[in-house]
Amino acid sequence: MAFDEMYREVILDHYKNPRGHGVIEGADAEADGQNPLCGDEVSIYVQFGADNETIEDVKFRGRGCAISQAATSMLTEMVTGRKATAIAEMPRDELLEEVGIPLSPVRLKCALLGLGVLKVALHRAKGTPLPEEWAGMDELKLT
């Protein structure tokens, strides 16, 4: 993989200036997740709109590599204004296309951490289905 593709400007921009960074106190849905390979951590907080269905606000905090944090930052922009059920069904490729860089299997886990945590949060709050690949994350509780 060409070096410049991996850390293209948009990734570095999201990493250095993450969108949706922060915490929502008393959030309607929240979850934490960790990538055990490298110790990346992400917590996600969701606030639903008046219909109790549409994602009105979403914030995250975490620490980790540029890929995990930038991808989560991009994710917050992608999901705002969409319905919980739609996000529960959102294929991972939709996010990966947005991230737009070729990723090795290990880095794929970094890029998908935020999406997994968001799906867990929605699953817990709304009972939306949680695909098997993320089922294990539902058991995690970070201290």
């Binding site: 993989m1 070096f3 991996m6 850390y7 570095l12 390979l37 490298c38 110790g39 990346d40 951590e41 620490r63 980790g64 590599c65 540029a66 890929i67 995990s68 880095r107 970094c110």
Partner: protein
């Protein structure tokens, strides 16, 4: 640097004996700084395994035909090489396992389950690899024993031995599990001192020697420990084979960990009795060819000389500490050179270790980024992960230079 009489090794010449380094020449040739994760293999080891498969392979300790005898003899010859390598008193004390993790689990289950209970303390350290930490945590939980860890002090991240008296008040210390050389920061622990303290408490001492056995001479008879575990793949040998050394009287007193074929003396509906040491702890067909490979690796290490390897690593580590010290914003964890193995873990300000390792990887420099199976230590250091470079007998100064160049590049990307 210590001046010794060991002959200086020629890393470049040794390197030529490792087929992996022949691959992909030019600017992207491999700078392999991940040997504490797993070492590369010399042709001698690969050839020994191939030749054994082609000329001497059969199952061991089962057949009565000539080929089976030859296979068994070679398998036991390797055990003798392992025995001599750590200066064990007897081959009966050398148990083959799949890896060091299995060896440590063997002690935790076979010794710990029987000997720990409420009021007892299973003591590890904050520097332990998960493999010498989690088994004791689990066994403590199962038996109602207390689980505790010797903390590290802030400065050099070495064990804080001033806390020992306080820890001793928490109960009857029954086991101390400690590494000889810590895998994530390279801290060399004062194991003989700790083993003596453990014995004063009436405890046994279980030593993880994975990061020591490949790099410096070990003598289990003077070390003072009761069990010592190490693995083949970090010391030029193949994966799939580990070693547990244990004091014979302890091994005798223990029930087996795995049971089944090969480790029994007699089986009936009423009762089963166990085979002699070491076979009692080697259930099932063992890693035969891997044992041959480990034997060949030990021959290779002996030929080069462990003192020479240690000297070379001290030299490389000193050079690396100096070069890395030039980089602004880079923090090195761990002790000074005198109490450090050939391992350097660091943090590059503003760049996550995963990104550091990726950028280095793109330059052909292989390092490890992560928690190195020492999450409690990472928490203590206040980081999620570190970047770790580790060295071996084939490490060249120019590989360190390429590491440094790559780190400057990483800084530039994330500036």
């Amino acid at each position: 640097m210590a001046v010794t009489s060991a002959r200086q090794l020629d890393a470049a010449a040794l390197r030529a004996q490792f087929p992996i380094f022949e691959q992909a020449g030019g600017a992207r040739r491999l700078a392999y700084l991940d040997s504490s994760n797993s070492s590369q293999k010399p042709r001698a080891v690969l050839d020994a395994m191939q030749t054994f498969y082609e000329t001497s392979y059969a199952n061991v300790h089962r057949g009565v035909y000539e080929l089976a005898d030859r296979a068994a003899a070679a398998f036991e010859d390797s055990r003798e090489k392992v025995r001599a390598f750590v200066n064990a008193g007897s081959q009966r004390e050398i148990i083959y396992t799949r890896n060091a993790t299995e060896a440590l689990n063997l002690v935790a289950y076979a010794w710990g389950l029987e000997n720990l209970g409420p009021g007892d303390v299973a003591l590890v350290t904050e520097l332990e690899h998960h493999s010498n930490f989690v088994p004791w945590q689990l066994i403590a939980e199962r038996t109602g024993a207390t689980f505790a860890a010797i903390p590290i002090e802030g400065g050099n991240h070495e064990l804080d031995l001033s806390k020992l008296d306080e820890i001793a008040k928490r109960g009857q210390i029954k086991v101390l599990a400690v590494g000889l050389v810590n895998n994530s920061l390279g801290v060399v622990n004062p194991v003989s001192e700790l083993a003596a303290w453990a014995h004063e408490q009436g405890a046994i001492c279980v030593v993880d020697a994975c990061q020591a056995a490949p790099h410096r001479p070990i003598d289990v008879q003077t070390l003072g420990a009761d069990f010592v575990a190490f693995t083949g793949h970090k010391m030029l040998g193949p994966t799939g084979i580990g070693v547990l050394w244990g004091r014979q009287e302890l091994l005798q007193s223990m029930q087996p960990f795995n049971v089944g074929g090969g480790q029994i003396r007699h089986v009936s509906l009423e009762k089963t009795t166990w085979n002699d040491l070491p076979h009692k702890f080697e259930a099932g067909t063992p890693p035969i060819v891997e044992a041959i490979g480990l034997g060949a690796a030990i021959d290779y290490l002996n030929e080069v000389g462990l003192e020479s390897i240690e000297d070379h690593e001290v030299e490389i580590t000193e050079y690396a500490l100096g070069r890395l010290g030039e980089i602004f914003g880079l923090t090195i964890f761990g002790p000074p050179l005198e109490r450090r193995g050939g391992i350097i873990s660091f943090d590059l300000d503003g760049v996550h270790p995963h990104d550091v390792a990726q950028i280095l990887g793109n330059e052909g420099v292989a390092v490890r980024a992560g928690h190195h199976c020492t999450q409690p230590l990472m928490k203590r250091l206040g980081v999620a992960a570190t970047t770790r470079a580790s060295f071996y007998l084939y490490t060249l100064p120019e590989e360190i230079d390429r590491l440094v160049d790559g780190l400057h590049r990483a800084k530039k990307v994330f500036a």
